[in-house]
Amino acid sequence: MNMLTRRSLIAVTASLVFAGHAFAQDKSIVVASTTSTQDSGLFGHILPMFKAKTGIDVKVVAQGTGQALDTARRGDADVVFVHAKPAEEKFLAEGFGVKRYPVMYNDFILIGPKADPAGIKGSRDIVAALSAIKTKGADFISRGDKSGTHQAELNLWKVAGIDIAKDKGPWYKEIGQGMGAALNTASASNAYVLADRGTWLSFKNRNELGIAVEGDKRLFNQYGVMLVNPAKHPSVKKDLGQQFIDWLVSSEGQKAIADYKINGEQLFYPNASDSGA
């Protein structure tokens, strides 16, 4: 390597590091969150309001709940905003989070093809519906990615008395991808799939799909938010992160969440005041 190249390499490396610092210095936080909050358009609705009030840029990295918690564990996010209470409590117990705040809820729905091969359309009993899907061997798409929705699905199989790891047949397909990809797969293969209502409402490639089961209280879907523990990761921007959390659970933030609608339908229901949620 000649001298000129070496010099330019050093210059470029230095400018990369410098650019990284410049990018890191501005008033912004990284929030590891789920695909459902982003794909449903909720963040697009509430973040501009938060930015207008505080001047803080919120950079959302949308992943499944399991991956979002892992990103936070590594110290690569300041705040984590997800929906799987047992996994969140484990995260807290390990010392990676400071405190968990309930923010809002919506519900899961079972999506299925119009032809309804399992004969469950219109039912309000998710457990009976899953049993019917298994008995009939109707195609079912599982997220298979440790996301909040995947964990809720696994739990529902358990409630139905089905050991899905052992009892699954060729009808049960784990795709290991996000909510949108799971819906696309179900749409292309006329299969059943468990989805969060927010993503479903904003999902466009429905084809023959429609809601098969909704309204069972076991389909409740709670979202919580946590500051990543600065004691574990000193790089966490604790003041800016806490400002975001405080705003989410304030009456203003809660109203912003309630106001988000698609075609007149509300997607998320704020419940920060419910300390048990």
Partner: protein, 230 residues
């Protein structure tokens, strides 16, 4: 942007969010190609002209690395730049520089391998002249790179094509953050996951048009340069 609109409408209306995405895509991929050229061209030329033990193995490795899976590179760069990784202190993860680093890793072997081949062919052709000119090893490398400059444009374009087209690495290290690390390819992945397939296809066509435009410009520049050089 991106609510019940087509990509054509976004282009025609000069949608600022779309243009920011296009600008970031070009910035990241061009920067990666420049960095990869600074490393890959001298490296490829050096391998072409130097005899050392294990050279055949290095050439095979270099050619194989042209097929590095982007998702693996993304993961490796992620683990390196993560706050818990060796370079975590720089805070580069989920920033454009992280994406440039990942694409540089992907593109460098392509440019180095293609440069090696080009320079080696030239060396075989002009060996006697160059030996007669009595240049040192560095002088030879420089002379051959200069002679090959028009052919090397193709190596750079191959690298640029790879960088502009990949999504696996940058979505991991960039995080696909709206207005900050969202590029053409990660936007296409996102719109696909939202089930807006027409918009995803439209954005894909915009990306292809951009890549064609870049190639056309490079070709024109090469032709003009060749004419000037006689």
């Amino acid at each position: 942007m991106l609510q019940d609109v087509t990509a054509l409408q976004l282009v025609l209306s000069g949608d600022p969010a779309l243009f920011a995405i296009v600008r970031l895509s070009l910035y990241v991929s061009f920067s990666a190609v420049v960095l990869a050229a600074l490393i890959g061209i001298p490296l490829g030329a050096w391998i072409a002209l130097t005899k050392f033990p294990g050279r055949q193995g290095v050439i095979v490795m270099l050619n194989a690395l042209m097929g590095l899976p982007p998702v693996v590179v993304g993961l490796a760069v992620y683990l390196t730049l993560s706050r818990s990784g060796p370079l975590g202190a720089f805070g580069l993860l989920f920033t454009p520089p992280a994406m440039i680093i990942a694409q540089t890793v992907l593109v460098t072997p392509i440019i180095a391998a293609l440069t090696r081949q080009t320079i080696e062919d030239l060396w075989i052709e002009y060996r006697d002249e160059l030996t007669a000119m009595n240049l040192g090893p560095l002088g030879r490398v420089a002379a051959l790179i200069w002679d090959a400059r028009f052919s090397l444009v193709t190596a750079l374009l191959a690298g640029f094509g790879r960088a502009a087209a990949e999504v696996g690495a940058i979505i991991i290290v960039g995080g696909n953050i709206e207005g900050f690390t969202r590029t053409m390819t990660t936007a296409i992945a996102l719109e696909t996951s939202k089930g807006d397939l027409p918009l995803a296809v439209g954005l894909g066509l915009v990306l292809i048009a951009i890549v064609i435009a870049v190639n056309a410009l490079a070709w024109t520049a090469r032709r003009a340069g060749e004419r000037l050089a006689g």
